[in-house]
Amino acid sequence: MTTLKPGDLARIDLTLNGEAVSGHAEPRMLLADFLREKCGATGVHVGCEHGVCGCCTIVMNGVAVRSCLALAVQAEGAVIETVESLAPDGTLNAMQEAFRKHHALQCGFCTPGILMSLIDLLRRNPKPEREEIVHVVGGHLCRCTGYSNIIDAAMDAINGTAK
């Protein structure tokens, strides 16, 4: 096992939204910073850097993860999905469309993280109950919307009536 010292740069190769990317990072660099600054994934937002707000949520190896609580070096070889992956051909997916229809975002700063958590939920359970959605959104802070439109949007998307 290589031991990295402060100042050393580690090469990191990962798959970001289906594309192979690589970059160098100090061992202490946060994954959130790496994705934003080295990979240009500025849809990853940083709201607290202490794991509470959920703005930085991504899906890493199929699991929703707070990228402010992970180090870039931990993502070596990982498959990472960020909000940038959700509308590959520019067409909003059902969840995004429902967010738009229900005005489930204002400043939009919390939105990418919430979308990624909901996507993760839907992969595990395509027909979650309202309580489960509230529970998942409950892991995020949003200061603008008061949450109710977010829950309505998610319910709408899941019932297939969003369009």
Partner: protein
């Protein structure tokens, strides 16, 4: 009128439709353009701020030599550097309250910026902060505003004789007589807490000093008001045109808070000039909670003169507002923005108000959504509830009896506001009608019948919007105002531009933070030009060197609907009139017969006679000579909107503080859990009259957001300081922002009485629920508990104190989990514990007293030096939750009883905080080796304190375990290694470490 015309006229305009937003496509796909996402010039450096761990202290010395020697560190600036090249920020009162962008000579609150490090990246800049040695001389701090204004209190600014830095009293009508003639006088004292609405995106500044042009080019997520622009320019000692301030397209929320980025704009500008390179700073969440901004806390004493039937004839109020350590422009806004509306929704003719401004050793308070409204209505609406209780009337009947009646608008209030329109009784009856109040009462009866605790609350509030720039002048006596000149009015600006192909672009003076203004502006302009909102591009980035702006610009005080929106409407109307004249000539008809619709200019009477919109617009560009007489070439109109109703304060201090005044009536039912003491909102109904709603989807979005912020104020959020000024709510684990699981359903209702003072009839609407919800819930809790004094936020701890008493034991059957901590205790950590090591006490003692051995044992220890007999100096890296930093420690050992016990005392200092205290470690022999027993009491301040108990506890567990694991390893090694330490050397560092991060074991 022919059928086609009638059909078209029946077509609904875009304004008024619940249209989803233009903004969303980018934001939903991660393509937002927030300040931190914007490209920066090559070579940009990164800044980090070293902040004060003390609430009040003299800065004796700052030594940055070690920081400057780190590779990658370009500069360290201190208050002394800043003082030489900038001026203090302007303040609204005449007392000397100088504030620079870094602390000069002394620090006055925990988190105050002390030094700025500029380095090649943020990680290095933060490393460097740990290597700056600041020598502080702590001073007594004053935290409670009542204590601050008492005689003999420590002075926050020694050059000002009192912490009560400005006081003014106002009398309208004849309150003395009204009180003398009243049947009853009902009085109350209320206290509004400190909180913020913490936007999810923190402050960002990128400053680039362009030496050749002597211009500061700054990008920042500043929200306005742009009245701060001259304040910044003056501080930088430049004319305003040399401060080019740009705002990005997207901002991650603000709620008033992002005005307070302005001192950092100045600081980063100075730093960029000092290092000759662009400098970027991104505030982190800990900094934000610690010191970004806060709403002011207020203590109000209020009393009403009341007749037997509940009719209020006069109000008297004394407001003591706490702005923290400095009066940041435009403070004391919250005391005066509501001034005209001090009598709220009620027809009260006699009024006496005293406004007192207090300074304390807390972070400066500044703009925040609601801006004085929540504080005012907490006093007024709690009082109305008390009147009902004391006169044995129904609360709703006291409200009804005092409401301003319909049909008297525009209505002039006692203090001079000109309420534009409204029908308050209709709104109230609409909300309680259809059996809604009856249902709530029935519910209350049912819950009470089964022994539950249930209450009903009401709140009636008037929501002002678009502030009169003259309202703050009310702070000055009329004679002084006359001398310095009256301020008044409020300028709004918007520009509509049509290019040679007829494509329309709109810019405006609104610095958006997520409200959806681009969508609404596109609706307004589309209506004027016969286009669709999709045709219109709205760019709301602001560039003060190129765009239209004035001091009132920005997004605050709900000025968009009555202000910017109107300016856009007027600009589009001018373009429209111009196009009508151009088209009339081309279509060979009269301008009156031309209409713009469906992307065409056509004859109303003969719609087949038509030209495309682009064709007509192109004429103004391509064929300017052919234009009808008097029509200017080009197609760009900037409209200025400045309503005449916003007059300066009158000689007798009456002031129309805002242009429009919406109305809100809230009603709620709450239930209190008798075991957890949680307040649960059972039902919440909010009736709004915001005039004409331009986009009901977005309007309701604002109301829902404000509702949850009001709920947060009522139940959850508070910035807590201990008596010495340590800040105790520095992370989102300590400062409780409600999440989706805490949100009750909100039932919104609307009536519309359009404002006669704006062409669109729309009023501001985004702040009202921040004003109404805290007091509505407080009233419901007062009703539930039959109590008078209701503190906010109504956390389980406070409700418990109300119901059981502060010191009472937890209710039976609850166990220790429900034990409540008093935040007053702050981070006075005390505790004790024990640990086993498998080595004899003498061996353990030796290891503990050997600096070399200890250095290896203490987690994160870089250096441990014996400075004097029994006195150590150490440098350690410690992590508390998200916070990691280097600390310098000094420890003194005494009462040595080898190998049984030692007493230690000492202090710790670092960029993340300071600590001092002491403890005792005891060693005793056991079968397996040694049992260490420790006992300590320590006070922690600064960030380490702010991040809170549970993080400190978690860190303590890890550090203590690591230490003893290390000790066990080291003791094993020492058996073979030759001890090179003398028996007299020792360390208490361990226990002291535990002391710092000690949990309540």
């Amino acid at each position: 009128m022919d059928a086609a015309v009638a059909g078209r006229e029946a077509e609904a305009p875009w304004v008024g439709r619940a249209l989803p937003r233009k903004e969303d496509a980018a934001l939903l796909t991660g393509k937002g353009r927030y300040a931190d996402d914007m490209p920066v010039p090559a070579g940009t450096l990164v800044a980090h701020i070293l902040r004060s761990p003390h609430a009040h202290a003299i800065i004796r010395n700052i030594d940055a030599a070690r920081a400057l020697s780190l590779p990658g560190v370009k500069a360290v600036l201190t208050g002394e550097d800043i003082r030489k090249v900038s001026d203090p920020f302007l303040v609204a009162v005449k007392e000397p309250l100088p504030q620079w962008s870094l602390a000069v000579e002394r620090v006055r609150f925990v988190g105050e910026p002390v030094a700025l490090i500029v380095a090649s990246d943020r990680y290095i800049a933060e490393d460097a902060a740990e290597k700056i040695d600041v020598d502080y001389e702590p001073l007594p701090a004053v935290i409670d505003p009542r204590a601050a204004v008492a005689v003999g209190a420590p002075l926050v600014h020694p050059d000002v004789k009192s912490n009560e830095v400005a006081t003014r009293s106002f009398t309208y009508g004849d309150p003395k007589k009204a009180f003398a003639e009243a049947d009853h006088v009902v009085a109350l004292e209320v206290e509004y807490p400190r909180n913020s609405f913490t936007p999810m995106e923190c402050f960002v500044v990128v400053a680039d000093y362009r030496a050749a042009e002597q211009t500061f080019d700054v990008l920042s997520n500043f929200q306005g008001p742009f009245s701060a622009h001259p304040v910044m320019a003056r501080a930088l000692r430049i004319p305003g045109n040399r401060l080019r301030l740009r705002t990005p397209q997207d901002s991650g929320g603000s709620f008033g808070i992002k005005l307070s980025v302005f001192p950092f704009i100045v600081l980063m500008g100075l730093a960029s000039r000092a290092v000759g390179r662009p400098v970027k700073w991104v505030e982190d969440r800990l900094e934000h909670l610690l010191a970004a901004s806060s709403g002011p806390n207020r203590v109000s004493k209020i009393e009403a003169a009341v007749m037997k039937d509940g009719r209020i004839t006069a109000l008297r109020m004394d407001n003591l507002e706490d702005y923290g350590a400095f009066l940041r422009a435009p403070m004391p806004g919250p005391l005066y923005r509501m001034h005209g509306a001090n009598t709220g929704a009620y027809d009260i003719h006699h009024l006496e108000v005293t406004n007192r401004i207090a300074l304390t050793n807390k972070a400066p308070a500044c703009l925040i959504r609601g801006f004085g409204g929540p504080q005012l209505y907490l006093a007024v609406e709690r009082l109305v509830q008390r009147i009902a209780v004391e006169l044995n009337l129904e609360h709703i009947d006291v409200i009804r009896r005092n409401l301003i009646p319909a049909g008297v608008f525009p209505y002039k209030t006692a203090a001079g506001a000109l309420y534009d329109s409204g029908d308050y009784p209709r709104a109230v009856e609409g909300a309680i009608g259809d059996g809604r109040l009856e249902a709530l009462k029935k519910r209350r009866d049912e819950v009470r019948a089964r022994g539950g605790i249930y209450g009903i609350g009401f709140a009636a509030v008037v929501e002002p919007a678009m502030s009169n720039m003259g309202y703050l002048s009310t702070l000055l006596p009329a004679a002084v105002r006359e001398r310095v000149g009256d301020k008044n009015g409020a300028v709004s600006l918007a520009t509509v531009n049509v290019d040679p192909l007829g494509a329309v672009t709109v810019t405006a003076d609104s610095a958006v933070q997520g409200q959806g203004h681009a969508t609404v502006l596109s609706q307004i302009v589309a209506d004027q030009l016969g286009l669709t909102p999709d045709d219109i591009v709205v760019n709301l980035e602001i560039d003060t060197q190129k765009d239209q702006w004035s001091i009132a610009s920005g997004t605050y005080s709900s000025r968009f609907s009555p202000g910017t929106a109107v300016a856009a409407h007027l600009a589009a109307e001018r373009i429209r009139n111009k196009l009508l004249r151009i088209a009339a000539k081309q279509l060979n008809i009269l301008p009156d017969d031309v209409e713009l619709a469906d992307g065409k200019a056509r004859s109303r009477t003969n719609p087949d006679n038509a030209l495309s919109f682009g064709r007509v617009a192109g004429t103004a560009h391509w064929s300017p000579v052919m234009l009808p007489e008097g029509v200017e070439p080009g197609l760009r109109e900037t409209a200025t909107w400045c309503p005449p109703e916003l007059e300066p304060p009158s000689k007798d201090d009456r002031i129309n503080t805002s242009l429009t005044y919406g109305f809100i009536f809230d009603m709620c039912g709450i239930e209190i859990d008798p075991v957890t003491f949680q307040v649960r909102v059972d039902r919440y109904i909010s009736m709004h009259d915001a005039g004409r709603l331009m986009n009901p989807l977005l309007a309701e979005g604002q109301m829902k957001g404000a509702f949850v912020q009001g709920l947060a104020t009522a139940l959850y959020e508070e910035f807590v300081y201990d008596e010495r000024g340590s800040f105790l709510s520095g992370s989102f684990a300590d400062y409780l922002v409600p999440t989706a699981t805490e949100i009750p359903p909100l039932e919104l209702m609307h009536i519309e009485t359009p404002s006669p003072f704006t062409p669109l009839g729309a009023k501001g609407l985004a702040e009202g629920n921040c004003m109404s919800v805290p007091v509505c819930i407080a009233n419901a809790v007062a009703d539930a508990l039959s109590m008078k004094d209701i503190p906010l936020p109504l956390s389980p701890r406070r409700v418990h104190a109300l119901m059981v008493g502060e010191e009472a034991p937890p209710p039976a059957g609850l166990g220790t989990a429900a034990k409540q901590e008093k935040p007053k205790d702050g981070r006075d950590i005390t505790g004790k514990g024990a640990f086993e090591v498998s080595a004899a006490p003498s061996e353990v003692w030796r290891t503990l007293l050997d600096p070399e051995a200890l250095k290896r044992v203490i987690p994160g220890c870089h250096e441990l030096i014996l400075e004097a007999p029994n006195a150590y100096r150490a440098e350690v890296s410690l992590g508390v939750g998200p916070v990691r930093g280097r600390f310098r420690a000094r420890v003194l050992l005494s009462d040595l009883d080898e190998p049984h016990s030692a007493r230690l005392s000492g202090s710790l200092a670092g960029p993340l905080g300071a600590a001092s205290g002491g403890g005792v470690v005891g060693l005793s022999a056991t079968e397996g080796g040694t049992r260490l027993v420790y006992d300590y009491a320590v006070t922690v301040s600064g960030t380490a304190a702010a991040v809170g108990g549970r993080l400190l506890d978690g860190a303590a567990d890890i550090i203590i375990r690591k230490f003893f694991e290390g000790l066990a390893r080291q003791v094993g090694k020492e058996e073979t290694a030759s001890p090179h330490a003398s028996a007299r050397k020792r360390s208490g560092i361990i226990a002291w470490l535990r002391a710092l991060f000690g949990g309540r074991k």
